[in-house]
Point group: C2
Chain length 221, copies 2
């Protein structure tokens, strides 16, 4: 029995015995990406030390993160690349086809619609929305742009799971309220503002200035 | 003597006695943003509990993060909003005017050039670069777009501290090599690829798919 089957018997990843920190979940995305590169080079196994070099995390961190989900590398052999990659895809839920609505077809919205990282990982922008009459009705990256006023209707008809908000800060809360009222359970917000959502809705904020400030800190130290 | 002056005597933030985890530095950006909102509402003091509610972190996490830099709230009073905000700006180095070169004036590059979070926080895009003759010579958000071939020259002449890479993955390493050879010490990479830089150069990668995958994980659990 391989190490993953064994681990699966011991721990159901959908119900880990310890709460998983958000930073660990975000590192899983990085492991998933790096394992893809290792996989495409034809390697069958990879050590936590190699994963550390490729990700920039420590080997101890790699082992600790993967242990949350019951994945333990074999001593002297490492992790089975293909199995671990599939397992991470399953844990991250990117093997099941999420349907995304994107609101705000400006530069950032267009950049995200064309982002190569989304399309091949189970995320599909099934509808885009804008309030600008000049943009409504146009097609961006193969997706037709609807009126922002049609959001609630489209969430139901197109079975949208997740909404990406790339509107200006002042318009963001209204968009989120409409999406939540229509049944959306996950919001990814790029607008530089604090949004309010009910407890049953997952909200993630992407602050594009954080990484620039992190570099600034690194230079200043 | 106020708590911050006292703390400054006890610990030089540019040389903390313990190594500061990158995740803590990134949370400082969030504290800085939230303190700005609290400040604009006219509040003089704020508790770690309020900062916890506003940021989504725990109060214990807030206190632990700020303690790295010798900032301790006064019991029953909390943190002095204005002083803490200035201190975070200083720690993050965003009070000293970083000069940024942005390479790749596509949708993402344009979105970043117009990002309101950059302009008022000490980050100035002083030059932009592209390889497309149709874009070179145009002005985007008040900044003239130069030929990508002029990057090394402009880094020296315009005293560029930091380069933001928003080119396609296949072009990213070449851009980074040129920037590093010209003396740039900090790279912020949005291209979905692993880049190599010498040890003296700070590299941060922004993976726009990570947050979508985090939401996907949250929905799947």
């Amino acid at each position: 029995m391989d190490v993953f089957a064994l681990a699966a018997m011991r721990m159901d990843h959908t119900n880990p015995t310890r709460p998983v920190p958000p930073t660990t979940v975000r590192r899983l995305s990085t492991y998933y990406r790096v394992l893809g590169a290792v996989h495409s080079e034809g390697q069958a196994n990879v050590s936590s030390e190699t994963l550390a070099v490729l990700t920039g995390f420590t080997a101890a961190q790699v082992r600790r993160d993967l242990a949350y989900f019951g994945s333990f590398g074999k001593r002297g052999v490492g992790y089975a690349v293909s199995a671990l990659r599939q397992r991470l895809a399953s844990i991250l839920g990117i093997d099941r086809g999420w349907r995304i609505g994107l609101v705000g077809v400006g530069n950032l919205g267009r950049a995200l619609m064309a982002y190569p990282g989304f399309n091949n990982q189970g995320f599909e922008v099934v509808a885009a929305f804008d309030s600008d009459a000049a943009v409504i009705g146009s097609t961006v990256n193969g997706t037709r742009v609807l009126s922002a006023g049609d959001l609630a209707h489209a969430v139901r008809v197109d079975r949208i799971d997740m909404v990406i908000v790339t509107v200006p800060a002042r318009a963001a809360q209204k968009v989120v309220d409409q999406a939540v009222a229509a049944g959306v359970r996950a919001i990814l917000n790029f607008a530089p503002t604090q949004l309010r959502v009910p407890a049953h809705v997952q909200l993630s904020n992407v602050d594009l200035a954080v990484e620039v400030e992190y570099l600034s800190y690194s230079l200043a130290v």
